[in-house]
Symmetry: C2
Subunit: 162 residues, 2 copies
């Protein structure tokens, strides 16, 4: 499998999970959280699919396409280990959907970060909320959802907050 | 269509064209030319699909994944407007396959560059060679090939050198 193959597979998995989550949260009010803006592709996808929803983006430093920069009042800059706990005062247990896109080339460090962030993120999610993450995020009261076929084999993970 | 959608469509078009070209050049000897290394995804795809073929990469400055850096004797660094004509002394009308991946965010400038480079590239390609390019490359003695379905609508272009 070439890097082109694996990149295509990753983006197909990502889109399939995001689209399924979008369908699942139609009846569930609350903001959407995007952890990691990156180049802004998935943020753009979410704002296209959920035009009426508030989308808050957590990012250390903006490096996206210029037309994918969130409005200032929807952009929360800083280290996630600080900004996520701080966001609890703003929207405790309110978010309906979170997409976690924090992986770097250091897979081990990324997995550790996901485990660290999981309980911080959990505090922001409402009951029934959907969480989509490339990395496993073990939270005791989150139920593992079956991923779409494009995301089979652990390529992407979906959870529902209990 | 979101940026995620269009990126997926672009990469599916790219892969479909590369794979079709790989099939078409099985019986045609000669090196492969990659114009633009970028992150190295398509270079990696070509070396996976054509393990026995010499692949020469033309790039201004290497910025790829570390494991997608071509060996020094297969990497031709510099401005394509200088390195392509210079390569004519090395392999005149010998290449069997070229992939042109030179587009930047400035579409107009990229299209102009493709038109400028087209005759320089043409001088390196042998009769029957396949050229795959995201941008149109008009060369009088190149025949336009029908692109695979994934590349319909002008998303990618395929030519055969006459």
């Amino acid at each position: 499998m070439s890097r082109l193959d694996s990149n295509i597979a990753r983006m197909l998995a990502q889109r399939a999970c995001l689209d399924r989550a979008v369908a699942l949260v139609q009846e569930l009010s609350g903001p959407v959280l995007e952890l990691g803006l990156g180049n802004g592709r998935t943020y753009d996808h979410l704002r296209v699919r959920l035009p009426a929803r508030d989308i808050f983006v957590f990012e250390r430093q903006v490096a996206s396409h210029p037309d994918c920069v969130p409005p200032p009042d929807r952009l929360i800059l800083g280290d996630l280990r600080e900004t996520l706990p701080a966001a609890y005062a703003r929207f405790p247990q309110q978010a309906a959907f979170a997409h976690v896109d924090i992986a770097t080339h250091d897979r081990t460090a990324s997995e550790q970060l996901a485990v660290t962030l999981a309980p911080m993120l959990a505090a922001l999610m409402r009951k029934g909320a959907i969480i989509v993450s490339e990395l496993p995020m073990p939270v005791a009261h989150w139920r593992v959802l079956a991923a779409p076929p494009e995301a089979a084999g652990g390529r992407y993970h979906m959870y529902q907050a209990g």
